[in-house]
């Protein structure tokens, strides 16, 4: 048996969770944008399968700023202390599938040669409820990287838009506690939500193309307009670079982890003054290489969910999709010259 939930029903559930002391994250209208934020009231939550928040849910697992330990001077002793972990349960609701799908991808790097206990603790105490997507704009390309509007990866439960409201379906054990795991709503919704997207990037060939084209005029031609800000990386669900800095004074302070971006010139500046990526096209190339060659080689996963946030948030309209389209065009030209034997 399935139950259709209205927005009021969903907000009622959220109010209950907030009442239980849980942190609830959802898309919220703020500053003329739709942004994922921790809710102060259930009424703030927006359930709209046709819009995409300008940020991503990564910051609720990997915050933009996070103290990792504190220090203080006591006499001649330096006393170090751990940061008390946040213990409240967290529920992310109405996440886009292209945001949720980033989590299993990020799990690789945060549990590779070292377990990032801050990230893994947040993952363990968070339940992700996505809202199956019903939008497509010019920046979207989720199906081109193996995801899709009803992708369940990273979600503990999924909400599907149905007539009169939403139906939920539990996927994991955590999600099963909130929504029926045997609901069949997905099958009914899939036709309505899966659309053909514009970019037909051939998965296997992108990495091969990149390997052979480290030096190519394509990088400069495509990325000359890049102004070198971090809007793409900071709104990307999968970009995860951070810097470690000490903040405080002689009496005390903290060692903190702050987001960083490979698009900044100082990201790779050596103490010697040498910068191996001294120009913006090299930095753009690095971003593409990391997502489509380096990360797949290391973890067998593309570091991109095709959400299109990079392009939507770019002040000059660049983005991963545009570069992929150009590469796709190059590959097609090669195909035309050398037809594949049947």
């Amino acid at each position: 048996m399935s139950t259709v939930l209205s927005v009021a029903d969903l907000r009622g559930r959220i109010a209950g969770w907030i009442g239980e002391g849980k942190v609830v994250v959802a898309p919220v209208e703020v500053g003329g944008r739709l942004l994922y934020q921790a809710l102060s009231a259930a009424s703030q939550a927006v359930f709209d399968a046709r819009r995409r928040p300008a940020n991503s849910i990564k910051e609720f697992f990997f915050p933009r700023h996070e103290p990792i330990f504190r220090y203080r001077l006591e006499g001649k002793e330096i006393v170090l202390s751990d940061v008390a972990p946040e213990e409240r349960e967290q529920i992310v609701i109405a996440a886009k599938p292209c945001d949720a799908a980033a989590l299993p991808i990020l799990d690789h790097v945060f549990n590779w040669d070292f377990e990032d206990s801050f990230y893994t603790a947040r993952r363990a105490r968070t339940t992700v409820i996505s809202l199956a997507c019903a939008m497509e704009d010019d920046a979207c390309f989720c199906t081109s990287v193996g995801s899709g509007p009803a992708d369940e990866a990273g979600s503990d439960a999924v909400l599907y838009e149905v007539e009169g409201g939403f139906e939920g379906r539990g996927i994991t054990e955590k999600g099963g506690g909130l929504f029926d795991r045997t609901a069949t709503v997905r099958e009914r919704c899939e036709d309505a939500t899966v659309r053909s997207l514009t970019v037909a990037v051939r998965k296997g060939e992108i990495a091969k193309y990149l390997e052979g084209n480290f030096e190519s005029p394509i990088w400069k031609d495509l990325t000359l307009a890049c102004l070198g800000c971090g809007a793409c990386a900071y709104t990307c669900p999968t970009c995860h670079c951070f810097d470690i800095v000490d903040e405080g004074n002689a009496a005390g302070g903290a060692r903190v982890k702050n987001w960083d971006s490979c698009q900044f010139p100082f990201f790779t500046l050596h103490a010697s003054g040498h910068n191996p990526r001294s120009a913006q096209p090299q930095r753009q190339r690095q971003r593409l290489f990391h997502k489509f060659l380096i990360y797949p080689q290391k973890f067998n996963a593309i570091l991109c969910t095709g959400c299109g946030n990079c392009e939507r948030n770019c002040p000059v309209g660049l983005g991963v999709r545009k570069v992929l389209e150009a590469i796709d065009g190059e590959l097609r030209r090669v195909d035309e010259k050398e037809p594949v034997q049947a």
Binding site: R33, R64, L224, A225, A231, D243, V245, F264, P315, G317
Partner: protein, 276 residues
Amino acid sequence: MTERLRQTVRRLLAEDKVKVVIGYGASKAGTPAPPIFVTRPEDADKLEWNDRCFANLSVYLTRKEVKALGKAAVVVKGCDERALVVLEKESQIDRSALFVIGMACDGVGAPKCAHCQVHVPRFADEVIGTQAEPPAPPNGPNGLDRLMAKSPAERWAFWTAEFSRCVKCYACRQVCPLCYCERCITDKNRPVVIDTSATPKGNFAWHITRAFHLAARCIGCGECTRACPAGIPLGLLNQSLAQATVENFGYRPGMDLAAEPVFGAWSPKDKEDFIG
């Protein structure tokens, strides 16, 4: 206007007057026109002019990758052109080595145009188009008036809430034609001047410092507000200082070729009443 723009660009490149033209390219309806760099006369047809030409392209004139392309022509709106005046006053560009194509602009939409004072470029080498209608004078209180009508405590609460969304992506700095420092003060780490953390302290320090550095320099193009992925109305900070500059020095950056920059000149008439 687009056709006349293309003709001009074709001629400039064919006659080798410039090596590159920085202009706007095609984009799908509803999305911003991307900056493009045209180097061959036959590519002039890639240029567009429409009400989605938001970017202030003068930002590229101080970029080393663009400078390396050779003598440039740049497409500007009236608001953008003010930045060229300031850049020249600050010795960042050689106006004689630059061809300026001015586009008469009916506006590309609020909030960017809310404070526009120049719709038709005045110092360009060639102006294309005429303005259909003079802009309507500002009607009623603008965003800054509404903010300044609040109490200091309310304004503090306003900015605390706005800055809480800042992730320090520095899009505001990177789109700004007047943020051309090779090493920004926030990138200085020996010693650290501004916390790089996106915390209340770090964010207030960053945005207030940036506003101070743009005092009597910001030309009000509104690119910082447009670029902010968190929707923070950053231009309000600069407008507040621009208003103070007008009130105290009668100076509007980029409006008058003869006027000396406030921070670059001293006059016996300068007010001294702030000295206790």
